[in-house]
Symmetry: C2
Subunit: 349 residues, 2 copies
Amino acid sequence: MPETFPTKPEVARPTMIDVARRAGVGLGTVSRVVNGGHGVRDETAQRVRAAIDELGFQRNEVARALRPGKKSTSLALVLGDLTNPFYATIAKSSLEVAGQSGFAVVLGSVDEDPEGEKRAIQELVSRQVAGLMIVPDQGDHAFLQGAGVPVVFVDRPATGIDADIVMVDNEGGGKLATDHLLAQGHERIAILLAPSYYTIGRRLRGFRRAHRAAGIDVDESLVIQLPEGNAEAAEKATREVMLRADPPTAIFASTNFLTEGVLRALGELGQEPAVVGFDDFRLADMLPTPVTVVASDIAELGRSAARLLLDRASGADTRPPQRIVLPCGLIERGSGERPPRSAGERNPR
Amino acid sequence: MPETFPTKPEVARPTMIDVARRAGVGLGTVSRVVNGGHGVRDETAQRVRAAIDELGFQRNEVARALRPGKKSTSLALVLGDLTNPFYATIAKSSLEVAGQSGFAVVLGSVDEDPEGEKRAIQELVSRQVAGLMIVPDQGDHAFLQGAGVPVVFVDRPATGIDADIVMVDNEGGGKLATDHLLAQGHERIAILLAPSYYTIGRRLRGFRRAHRAAGIDVDESLVIQLPEGNAEAAEKATREVMLRADPPTAIFASTNFLTEGVLRALGELGQEPAVVGFDDFRLADMLPTPVTVVASDIAELGRSAARLLLDRASGADTRPPQRIVLPCGLIERGSGERPPRSAGERNPR
DNA sequence: CTCCTGGACGGTAACGTTTCCAACGCTTTA
DNA sequence: TAAAGCGTTGGAAACGTTACCGTCCAGGAG
């Protein structure tokens, strides 16, 4: 016989029935006590509470959620790579808000492809979560329309469904960054774009709008669409664009990872165009040239989403779908305040 | 009457009973088809599957988990600040492994105090999760002993309970870092310690062991216990120790956040002692002086934990509690390879 | 004194699934 | 030909909770 893990006596967890028996009351009474205890005499409630303590009873949330109408006290959160501080911040802050209301947060397994996302969402729905917070990938989300579960989209809207959405002012942020560079006298500004997310398109729109407002034409060869959204792709693209005959004097990186790639390339090249990134990141102020960024309150993004969803789930909020847009601000640290250099004075050493 | 959100017709989700009726079979048959479909004639199974598709039936996981013995297909993960890349990496990687087995991961609300952690864990247990992954705070975890749920501790052991644990070789890592500095000729090495977590104690042990092996006494005034584990505390402590009459020639920062604080202080002071950090972090290679760190495979930490827990939960693994220790490696980037300077040649400019 | 009201409480159905058992039809074996 | 075996199927119990309904008793009104 193989040596087995000495599993504890496997104590069956006590149920309400056990508590009722112990306290010498009926099942309904225990239930009433557990849920606030209205309509129970004080003395009886005492006895019940004593029995609960003695037995170490804990309500079985699964059984509770089975009752019709009763939703579970869990919210679902579907997002991309948790390793990205952006997503991690959303997770943390929404978790905090949910936790304060006694809700747990279920993380769906997050694949990259839209099909995987759909599968993950449906698994979450089958777990009877009270609501869904989704940072949607591309792909249609119409299948959520009749799911009977409130949904809040975070950071970007989804197609095929009209639901609450909490996001940042991407276009405003894009304009803010570009305005800032234009104000320094830059006229050749490159923008690096991660693959076509909604947010990126909006940031580009702000970029164009700023140019238009300043009466400067956008050089379309400086609008650079990357094949991937990671630092490596940005590094490669930056190297290429800076080695052109007519390099830009400033670069606007449309995501935090892209900013990282841009800086890495510039460090190797020894060139110093102005740089502004979208979204702040840790250590941005400690790099050789501290990085100027357009930033928003990402934590508030998560908090708002969770709050809204909780209100929807409880039925307290029956307004038509809301659209919450958080503002962006500029954090000047140095890299975005460099003046343009003419081609002649490139390569300082 | 207030304007109300046009809630969809609130379509009741179809149940197995609906499917059975539609397919003209019994309830049990539908259940059998849904779970692999053994012991059902092919033709019957076809009919059932057709009905499932037509109705868009999805199994109710809550009802499923209610049956005795059946655990839910969710794992719980309890950890600290998701904003810390260390925790975020654990979350991501364990989520991946769990997802591959069709398990969701429930994140407990994570307070800082031990009492909050206990409450969070019990809430998770009441949700009938199949297993718990816990990065334990201080405080006794004996209350988990008889909970009847498998538990895997991550990164550090808990007191009061003998359970599986997956961690990194903290003592080895501490020794590795210190050996490296000693090998450069440093004899006055400061170590910054975050509040007394188990891991930190082990790293200190490695620090001392390295000194002993080298025949060098540890200057106890350079063993600096910080009141908090954040970058600010480390920054302050670094400033103080570097302004002493006899500053260290090297600093070992025992966590990623502390490393950040150390670098921030050094940048302001304009001093350049050697620095080695524990745990790698993003952009460590892009700082003015790239940072040498002792690192381990944090993602593997999460993966191992999830794998182990899934095996325990399925009953496939009945070995006595396991102790998995992952190795640490040194990543040389520059900051840890600076030679010691005598006090006289301090302050280069 | 009787009737009625209302608060406190007990019992039971129901939620949607899994699992067990019985029943049925068919084939194989004695 | 009857019995036994097997694969397939239907039906019902059970999981732990909540919600509803009825009962009981005390106290006030008529």
